[in-house]
Amino acid sequence: MLTKRIIPCLDIRDGRTVKGINFENIRDAGDPVELGAFYAAQGADELVFLDITATNEKRKTLSELVNRISHHINIPFTVGGGISSVEDVSVLLQNGADKISVNTSAFKNPELIKDLAKEFGSQCVVLAIDTKLESDGNWYVYLNGGRVKTDTKCVDWAKQAVDLGAGEILLTSMNHDGTKQGFALDITATLAKLLPVPVIASGGGGTMEHFVDVFNIAKADAALAASIFHFKEIGIPELKQYLNEKGIVVRI
């Protein structure tokens, strides 16, 4: 059976992981390659590297980093942050990235999704959506790392993006991100049911039970988290063991 996926996310700035953490068994936790390889060995199913510098002058740093990652890591990985053209993606894929994620640039220019899917295939185009539940009861799309609100509903944008060729949706709930109070089950469930492509839930995972819920109740295909892994609040082997005991199919 196809498994549910556990995906650690590493934030990168100027080629270094932002939340450099205290892992005894890693020489340099600030090095994305070492930290990524550690997670791969622990049983992570995929990795996401999110470049939060993403300015033009740093792009070369990113492609060099991606090249180093792909030489050392034996599981699939996605690269996101500041990607806005077919050329950007071409460089990252040539350096060994398996997938790329786009967010604000795709919202501002939806044709980008179509162009990327046509050029490289839908399987490598991940659409990241930052979304927030407003007082009117609707989930809206936010841009620029959550700083800019739009009037577009999350469901509408996700549907349009999949029609244009997005192969996966990485859904982050801004209401839940950083709270450790659990994933946004309702909007995740809505998208997972509605869309013919996999949905990766992100934001709010704080306990192992939260992961059970996002898979069992919201039917997410994958769950992404950052700090709970980085700060060793939850270990990937224990998490997978727990999910397995709860009857959720995971790779152990």
């Binding site: 059976m1 196809l2 498994t3 996926r5 791969a40 199913d45 792909s70 030489h71 050392h72 034996n74 599981i75 699939p76 894929l93 040539q94 350096n95 060994g96 398996d98 490289f120 295939g121 839908s122 399987q123 490598c124 192969g167 996966e168 997972a192 049911k193 869309l195 013919p196 492509v197 996999p198 039917k219 295909d221 994958a222 790779r251």
Partner: protein
């Protein structure tokens, strides 16, 4: 040992090259006929769409070269599908090395919420045959990304279940094909690549 990766418009060539480097094997990426023929082993990778890839191969005569190879050949993902007789993806006649047909996953309405197409992620392979799977346990996990599958047939040497049981790997004479990505399948994938190198 001379290992060649066939160069064409496929998406995962770099990943395959780097995976081989990780297990200490050097490979040459080329579409040069004499280099391909002189190789001890040939890898035929592939990520993309069937008809575009077949046209590309035909334009360069690579279709005839691949079919006539006598050393061990390993097709990966789309590479494996192109080695089959026919693909439903844009109604494409393929190389015909394996008789099996390539079809699209079609989960019924009830299954659709659970079974997304393409299948993306880790799934198990079982009923493992041939030395390509030496030292591997039944139900080992491999990484798959595909919307089309090769049906089960006489050349099936590994099976995976998604929507239905299908060929995770095929074998005939000197030709091997795997639907999953050994270059991305952690230590299991590295073992399969090592086994191919040692054939």
């Amino acid at each position: 040992m001379k290992l060649v990766i066939i160069k064409y418009n496929a998406g995962n060539i770099q990943s395959v090259l780097y995976a081989l480097e990780r297990i200490g094997v050097e490979a040459v990426v080329t579409d040069d006929e004499s280099l391909i023929r002189a190789a001890d082993k040939v890898i035929f990778p592939g990520v993309g769409e069937a008809s575009t890839a077949m046209n590309y191969l035909k334009e360069r005569g690579l279709d005839q070269i691949i079919k006539s190879l006598t050393q061990p050949v390993l097709g990966i993902c789309l590479g494996m599908q192109l080695m089959c007789a026919y693909s439903e993806e844009n109604d494409t006649p393929c190389l015909g090395i394996f008789d099996e047909q390539v079809k699209q996953f079609k989960p019924d309405a009830k299954e659709q919420a659970e079974l997304k197409v393409p299948q993306i992620g880790w799934n198990t392979i079982y009923d493992l045959k041939t030395s390509l799977f030496n030292d591997l346990k039944e139900n080992s996990y491999c990484y798959f990304v595909h919307g089309y599958y090769a049906a089960k047939g006489i050349h099936t040497i590994a099976t995976t279940d998604y929507v239905l049981p299908y060929s995770a790997a095929l074998y005939r004479d000197n030709f091997y094909g795997v639907q999953f990505h050994p270059e991305k399948s952690a230590v299991i994938g590295e073992q399969i690549l090592k086994n191919f190198i040692q054939l």
